[in-house]
């Protein structure tokens, strides 16, 4: 009888202890929402201005020393290329691509540039278990190939399908993605190469807070020219690259199903419990198992002792 009470007390105590250890931690992490570095930089992309000249693609290729393209950058037949039924996307040879979108009811096509959106709380960064990604105070999401193990979780995590894997080199895993020209330009306060190359000033570079203001002003002063939404202001918890569009964003194949919260928020509570489970549960259940089987063992021992005597 005395033994039973002890076991119950042990179980109660251990459950209370593990719960106490788990919940305050989960609460703390959930409360810590990150709203981005103050004065971090961003780019406002105005889709109504783009004429599809691909100068940004050429500038990116030069700045980032990427391999020569299959077709020259002023070859516009690439807009008709489809791979697995999809328009061109970023890969290991190009950090940015421009695609043409024919909009029903519009007498001219729209062009949309794709590159990393540099989220304020990036899903690639939070999904990486070796911390290969860094969100810099300037606003860029950069990547360290020296620690990458090539697991490609970031490619699954990114809501915009941006990180690309260098499949051409099996022993030297490397994720290839736009880094906002961080090393060569952003740290010096200069705009990225694509922004500088654009003849139409489709992209406006500045502090994220300032360009948001500009975006709102453009909508307010010319309400007929834009839909009243800045894509990236809240999408995925906010991105450094944001977009204005003259047509609803889904018509230009933006993913409008992207949640307004950082992707991390959906797994934060769960993930904060994982280390607790991994450290406490083995000890806890071993203890429970030992206590639960102790009575049987002792009875068996008694029996064998009794039969011996």
């Amino acid at each position: 009888m005395k033994k039973l009470i002890n076991r119950r007390r042990f179980l109660q105590g251990s459950l209370v202890a593990s719960a106490a250890a788990t919940f305050p931690l989960a609460k703390n992490t959930a409360a810590a929402t990150f709203e981005g570095y103050p004065d971090s930089m961003g780019v406002l992309v105005d889709l109504s201005r783009c004429v599809g000249c691909r100068s940004c693609e050429a500038a990116c290729n030069k700045e980032q020393n990427l391999p020569a393209p299959e077709k020259p950058f002023n070859d516009f037949s690439v807009f008709d290329e489809l791979s697995h039924g999809q328009k061109r996307r970023t890969d290991e040879t190009r950090y940015t691509v421009v695609n043409r979108h024919d909009i029903p009811g519009l007498n001219h096509p729209l062009f949309r540039k794709i590159q990393c959106n540099h989220c304020l709380e990036p899903a690639c960064l939070t999904s990486c278990f070796v911390n290969a990604y860094t969100k810099t105070p300037e606003g860029a999401v950069i990547y360290d190939a020296s620690v990458c193990v090539g697991c490609r979780t970031c490619m699954i995590a990114c809501p915009f399908n941006i990180p690309a894997f260098r499949y051409s080199s099996a022993f030297d895993p490397k994720i290839m993605k736009c880094i906002f020209c961080h090393d060569t330009r952003l740290v010096k306060g200069l705009p990225p190469a694509c922004v500088e190359a654009c003849p139409q000033e489709v992209m406006t570079f500045g502090r994220r807070t300032d360009i948001l203001e500009m975006g709102r002003q453009r909508i307010r002063e010319n309400p007929a020219a834009y839909v009243d939404h800045i894509y990236g202001e809240h999408e995925a918890g906010g991105t450094a690259w944001m977009y204005l569009s003259p047509v609803p964003f889904e018509q230009v194949e933006f993913n409008t199903a992207v949640p307004k919260e950082p992707i991390l928020n959906y797994v934060k509570d769960f993930l904060s419990i994982v280390p607790m489970v991994l450290t406490i549960w083995p000890a806890l259940f071993t203890g429970i198992h030992l206590l639960a089987t102790k009575k049987e063992k002792m009875e068996q021992q008694k029996k064998s002792e009794g039969s011996e005597s």
Binding site: P67, A68, P72, P191, Q200, D210, E221
Partner: protein, 176 residues
């Protein structure tokens, strides 16, 4: 007015023979240049020899120079402040639209609450945003080389030359 018109557009304003005054035009065509060589940005493309006199016959002053010359621009957003503004002393694009755009001092200057024109295009943006919509509308050349021929540097930049493919690291990757 004469001195300001002379600096129209970019540094090299070629004041050739004076244009004959157009009838019924508000602008002083005597003062306006016949051609303007737009070359302050030329790197990937050759300079543009812009026939100013030809364009004055196709569009009014305010269509390109907004509130600065001739007729008052009646855009509702402009007249909020500029309804009674006199013709401006500056008519050259480059006097307001800077060649360098988004440089650090300019970016930090935006926190000054007294600046209204926070969204002013740079010189390159101002030219293209001004010229292309009208060229498209009037069926004038609207592709890049319709106005300016590509330089050798431009051909390298866009991977158009054989020289480029021979010097790049991954020349085997390239199919033309």
């Amino acid at each position: 007015m004469k001195t300001t018109h002379r600096t129209l557009f970019v540094a090299v304003a070629l004041l050739l023979a004076g244009a004959s005054p157009g009838l019924g035009q508000t602008m002083d065509e005597y003062d306006a240049p016949t051609t303007v060589t737009i070359d302050s940005l030329s790197e990937l493309y050759e300079p543009v020899i812009f026939s100013h006199v030809r364009h004055t016959k196709l569009a009014g002053c305010k269509d390109c120079h907004h509130h600065t010359t001739g007729h008052q621009d009646m855009h509702p957003n402009c007249v909020r402040c500029h309804l009674h503004s006199p013709p401006s002393q500056t008519v050259s694009c480059k006097d307001c639209h800077t060649r360098q755009q988004f440089y650090p001092e300019q970016v930090t200057e935006l926190s000054n609450p007294n600046i209204y024109h926070i969204d002013k295009p740079g010189l390159k943006g101002a030219y293209h945003l001004n010229c292309i919509p009208c060229h498209v509308e009037k069926n004038a050349p609207s592709h890049c080389e319709g106005c300016h021929a590509m330089t050798d540097a431009g051909k390298d930049f866009f991977y158009l030359t054989d020289k480029t493919s021979a010097t790049t690291k991954n020349k085997d990757n390239r199919v033309r």
